[in-house]
Symmetry: C3
């Protein structure tokens, strides 16, 4: 009996030992599928660079196409080097509830801790894939700016702002919102009094802004930086007549624009779904919900923008429809994980209205943003942050894995945090951008000479002829009714 008992006990211990082995195996599977998910989604986000390149190449005059393509190639590259050496360290380095990441218990300058195999402090993989995913986001932020300042800005100005944005300006915001800084949604964890609310948590020293995939962090930063750049650079020659008229300088290449928007829409599934940052533990459900919501918002905004253009201008306007897709996607990016499909529909609808209003607002203010980047990414990005507060429900917030356990969504507290957060992001971006572009203008000069602008940047900076002949133009696509209204009032 004794012997039998020992045998049984050994068998139990053996089972226990195997259980521990299998537990490790199961967790390794979770970790590895999470990592693969981020690598694949990161590649999709990177592919958005091709989308931006085609979209912008389809908007600028053929004499400036090579320049904008070149810019896209080089800002993704600059972002890689800058984000590797410094940016990622500022964004995700040690610091809780504060302003900027540093070199403490975790240090990511030059990917130091990942490289040393010291773990990443953010999960159980070694963390390589996290840099890759975040770099692709940084590159998107940098490239958005270009759409607003194109066709009259020196290439060297692009180099300088790409370096500054990827190194410092953008990573600081990332740190605040996603890197456990003072605006991190993880600030809504129950504090030592058991209170889990978005407004200041004294333990984490942070406020719980929800910006799931970056309407604020990525798009507002790119959009508002572009707005400042467009203002400081000034309008393209001939864009605004002395009599207040607005001239269409080039009709655009719709094939390239459409290709660009389809690529962006495709890559955006990596951008938003991948922002779950993992798929195990049920996060894949959230990724699925994100895909649904962003599809509905994009569709809603595209349809709204299309029929708005038809109603106001008398004919369809593919550029407005395509920008509608982007506006809908930007608007849903902050909240795709925390709203229901019918809310996504409304968010897209409003984004299209903002697109339209913003487009004419810029014209009325005589601000020249050739790609409407500040409207699509800046204004609609801010709408995305606000919409998160308007539409979120506690149930949805918890479904997405946020720690917010109290009645913050229902009570309007979350909305308050969202509004304040968006204003802070706007203030930081505008403040930094003003300094940046004034510095550029005072040193190397932001703008090319009138002769270069007239001849096109391709011939002067790249030594190549225009990409194709300009087609005979049809009368301006601006809506005369709206325009007259704006001028009269």
């Amino acid at each position: 009996m004794k012997w039998q008992y020992q045998q049984a006990t050994d068998a139990v211990s053996q089972n226990r030992k195997n259980l521990n082995d299998f537990e490790a195996l199961v967790k390794a599977n979770s970790r590895d599928m999470d990592t693969a998910w981020i690598v694949l989604c990161g590649a999709l986000v990177f592919f958005m660079q091709a989308g931006f390149a085609m979209l912008e190449a389809g908007i600028v005059h053929p004499k400036n196409v090579t320049n904008i393509l070149f810019k896209n190639m080089i800002d993704a590259s600059i972002a890689a080097i800058a984000f590797w050496l410094l940016g990622y360290g500022f964004a995700f380095g040690s610091d809780s509830g504060g302003f900027i990441g540093k070199c403490g218990s975790a240090c990511y300058f030059g990917l130091k801790d990942v490289y040393n195999g010291a773990g990443d402090g953010m999960g159980s993989s070694d963390g390589w894939e996290k840099w890759f995913f975040q770099w692709a986001f940084a590159g998107a932020a940098a490239t958005i700016v270009a759409g607003a300042v194109c066709e009259r800005t020196k290439l060297e100005a692009y180099f300088i702002y790409s370096v500054f944005l990827s190194t410092f300006m953008y990573p600081v915001i990332v740190h605040w919102v996603w890197g456990y800084g003072w605006l991190s949604a993880w600030g809504a964890y129950p504090d030592s009094n058991g209170v889990a609310r978005p407004i200041f948590n004294k333990d984490t020293r942070s406020n719980g802004l929800i910006d799931f995939a970056g309407s604020g962090v990525v798009h507002m930063v790119g959009g508002f930086c572009g707005l400042v750049g467009a203002i400081i650079a000034g309008a393209r020659r001939g864009r605004f007549g002395p009599d207040g008229s607005v001239n269409t300088l080039f009709d655009g290449n719709n094939t390239l624009q459409a290709l660009g928007v389809f690529i962006l829409w495709f890559g955006w599934y990596g951008f938003n779904c991948g922002s779950t940052l993992m798929i195990s533990g049920g996060a894949a459900n959230v990724a699925g919900k994100v895909a649904v919501n962003m599809t509905i918002s994009a569709a809603s905004a595209a349809i709204t923008a299309t029929f708005l253009a038809k109603a106001l201008q008398g004919h369809y306007n593919i550029s407005m429809g395509l920008n509608g897709v982007l506006a809908g996607l930007v608007g849903i990016t902050a909240n795709c994980a925390v709203v229901d499909p019918w809310m996504a529909f409304l968010i897209g609808f409003v984004a299209a209205l903002i697109l339209y209003g913003g487009h004419y607002l810029l014209l009325a203010l005589r601000i020249d943003d050739p790609c409407d980047a500040s409207v699509v990414h800046g204004f609609c990005g801010m709408w995305g942050i606000w919409a998160t507060g308007i539409f979120c429900t506690d149930k949805n917030v918890q479904y997405a894995g946020y720690p917010n356990a109290n009645e913050a969504c229902g009570s309007g507290e979350q909305f308050g945090v969202q509004v304040v957060g968006s204003l802070v992001i706007a203030a930081w971006t505008i403040g930094m951008s003003v300094m940046l572009f004034l510095f550029i203008d005072k040193t190397i000069g932001i703008r090319v000479s009138a002769e270069v602008e007239e001849a096109g940047l391709d011939i002067s900076e790249h030594g190549v002829a225009p990409s194709y002949e300009q087609q005979p133009q049809v009368p301006s696509r601006l809506c005369p009714r709206v325009w007259t209204f704006l001028q009269v009032h």
Copy 2:
């Protein structure tokens, strides 16, 4: 001893408890990797929209390019809203062996049950990703039609058919074949008599049609709807001369066509491989087999079409080669999981012959389908359904996870079900499409005026100039030998 015994028993119970925890963890991993797979494949399927846009933009006259791009953007958007509100509910709602999904134990109108977290009745995830994947398919079906009716159809006609197709016409077929309706392959489960055959199962009340990824459900629906549209809209002005001659209206932009086909081929790996609907439990093996078979079929059809064109026309014809790729892919889509590679080779070979024959058949019938969409998607889609019955083996059918256990493949019973199923799908599609397009024609009119067609849809509907100058044309690419033969006989 007693105490020792208790200790051992406790250890056993603890092991059991942990086992249960780990079992849940393992199954959660399976569920989450399945969901991620569908999200990623769904994104690939969506990207096919870009492929269709580029392909069609490369075929239509430059004066109609903006219009076709616009149509692509808007039909994907309309499909999203229509499929969200109604289509998905009709396709996958409660109903066994019947005609259409309803609101019963499962209700998917407005994604109701997914949104309520009531489970999806189709697996263990919450089911968001299933809507996303199916929407991408619905968008593909809708966009195929456009290729057949382009260059002379009113935009408003596109809007109407997009809504109807995504809301009702397509979801009904989906319900029949994939939504446990009366043509579902799951009808081959053993009935209460232990018989597992594709012909009427009295328990599930369904017949076991095998259409793995939609040669019938997606491509035949799009292709035959397009055929009806092309006939009712009539030929483009000048396409057929009064003397029976066929005129090439535009030589095509081969760069855009090639880009479109490469994007389609790429996205098709999501379309077919993702139709495993999961990867765990060995489904990934099926996905791998699907990738192999569709590659071989596409390659076989491309090579066949290429050398056929060379033999018949005296020079190579890239459009035929590119359409060959698509024909091979459409033909393999129904059966990619249930055939061997050498069968895939033959399926592609025959698809290329059908492409060629169908192209000249339409010309002989004076039906004008500018993109050969009804040939590539409709005829080759039907071939795909038939080929499934011709080439399937019981071993392969079971490898793909179908319940078909008896000698249905060898005996020809499966082939019979495939032929009848394809005819039913064709009949439904043609019947509905005739009603649809006649309704459109009697109300708003399907066709633009002669002046608009002459000037191009871009200038009239969108207010933009042609996308590029038409190149000097070379003599018609139609094969004179075949053409003469067709006219004489």
Copy 3:
């Protein structure tokens, strides 16, 4: 007590039984996620065909665009059939440490063993996905050649070399390095004396060359084959003036080039990250590291090439920048898993120097490679193999899962193996290519007639007009300073 004891023992056995079930389930999850990873990465690698097509279409004269697109479509197709019937069997068939795969314990001609469900001998999936992934690589190797010989080569010559390359020339190298042949990195497993070194292992009879994703296997083979083809075909008419001048025959379409490079960069994440061949067991960490390293190398090379062009030519040169991206990616491909990010930065930097030097070297030698394919893929591919030996560390090599356990990296032994291996690959490729292209030239003739070349291949071979009007040209982009230097010295 006895009865209680029995009960406890039964519970232990039941736990054991469930444990075994769960172990199988966990391992099935690992296998299925590995397979899904390879299918998705394989699709990304296939998409590089679209990248090559756009890149090459953006470089050749508009009169040859259709021809190059056609070639891309057909060589991917030929590679599929050839690799299915023979190539894959030569690459991965039974044979250890030898020259070529055969039909032994494993037989892959016509996918025999996979098709028979006999397992693949290389893992636990059925192995379909492995063929798919490897086919996409074979297609890439085949298509690289075309860039070097374009604009004057007969289509039939493409057909012949595609068949030969995909059937025999490329699979032999794959067998040597990746198929357990005599250059396999798995040759560094401890031999029967316990020695784990890259130089000849007497048990596996192989030498441990490290070429992670194919700088040598894929890019050198494509690049050197192209170099031989370019030499044997001779320069395009008018490329080199009788006075030694170099003429730019066409300025290029930068939009297509940029689109092509962005697509290639995107697909390359599948190419390199997927070369882990699995993600479970921590391989996902390696995939993440690969993504980081290749991003940094691409960025470093793009920036270097950009500023080098500016310094030497006086203006930016987008073609050089874009080729810089590719050079950086080719250079990192062999070693992306075994170097640190700062090494990746240096590898990209040197790759850009090689690109520049190689470009002018070919001109000085009056070798006409329109796409610089032999420089980007051949020379930078060789640099990638060498860089692996220069920068690898034992720690990194083991992190990537290579068996190399000794001080091979530090001692220079690995570097020696890399140099010898690269020379052997070059010798095989050049030897085979000389035979191949001389055979083609002696039989059907490699080159089109002067009239066809003048008129363009599109009109003569495909019966279509040039794709677009040539733009007015600006003076040659060749760098006068460097050129003068090369001519004087």
